[in-house]
Amino acid sequence: MKKTILLLSLLLSFSAFAETVSFGVKGMVCSMCAQGIKKKFSALEIKDVSVDLDKKLVTYTSDKVLSDAKINELIKDAGYVVTDIKRK
């Protein structure tokens, strides 16, 4: 029982640090070209990246915190422009 509580506490503490980040990406009209965005974040061990081509929106959840400058750099390397970064 104690082990279960300990495990749950650990899981809760990890999820408490996880951050959901979403931002707009101007020019993101081609799904194949936008694969580069996922690749850039995967290289930083951020795997849970979703891309919405309709809304031109990228969202990820991770316990790894990236600064706005780093996100801008990653998206610039992918060939796009970031707008409106939101964090939850």
């Binding site: 101007k26 020019g27 081609c30 799904s31 194949m32 070209c33 031109k56 992918a78 060939g79």
Partner: protein, 206 residues
């Protein structure tokens, strides 16, 4: 001189000649009288370097080979709310081999522009080639429409028409309707010119 048009084809068949930083592009093209294999590396989001190897059969039935090192540059990009536009510069140098001459120097340069939304695609390209035997250029244009707007991870399909004007080989504009598909990092195209020349292109982003 049909080979001259054919060696340009791999350079005009694909989408963006520069992709994301540290991205690799592996491509191949198959036509009745030509095969092509190429690879390029985008060392920034504005520059890419690569190589292409072509083997083709000319009208006389002789086999010709080409090796070309390329450098592509994204000169300008517009990232809009619902569209993207690009201007690229192409350059290359290499060798060709056929007939009695085993080492012809080949130099290539050109420019390309495109505009696309999720639904529409338009592109135009001019490439100029100079060798010891030839000094010529080719104009190529494409228009396309995507009938269904697929989600990011789903299969994306396009219907396109390519127009290719080659003043050296035929002085005719060659029209090729084709289908383009994307799935994740893989693109393939299938088409047939109005004269019945089949075309199959494959490209992978790594």
């Amino acid at each position: 001189m049909r080979w001259l048009a054919l060696i340009f084809f791999p350079l005009i068949a694909w989408s963006h000649p520069v992709i994301y930083k540290d991205g690799w592009v592996i491509s191949s093209m198959t036509m009745p009288d030509m095969t092509d294999a190429g690879a390029s590396y985008s060392f920034s989001s504005k520059w890419a370097a690569g190589v292409n190897y072509w083997r083709l059969q000319d009208k006389a039935g002789d086999e010709q080979e080409y090796q070309l090192a390329k450098l592509n540059h994204l000169l300008w990009r517009y990232n809009g709310e619902a569209s993207q536009a690009n201007v690229y510069l192409h350059s290359g140098v290499g060798r060709s081999e056929w007939g009695d001459i085993k080492d012809r120097l080949a130099v290539m340069g050109g420019a390309e522009a495109d505009w696309e939304t999720r639904r529409h695609f338009v592109s135009g390209k001019y490439l100029h080639l100079r060798t010891s035997d030839y000094d010529t250029g080719i104009w190529v244009g494409r228009v396309g429409v995507s009938p269904i707007l697929a989600e990011f991870q789903d299969l994306q399909a396009w219907a396109m028409v390519q127009a290719w004007y080659d003043p050296i080989t035929s002085r005719e504009t060659k029209i090729t309707p084709l289908l383009r598909f994307f799935y994740h990092n893989v693109l393939w195209e299938m088409g047939s010119s109005l004269k019945g020349d089949m075309m199959l292109n494959l490209m992978v982003h790594l």
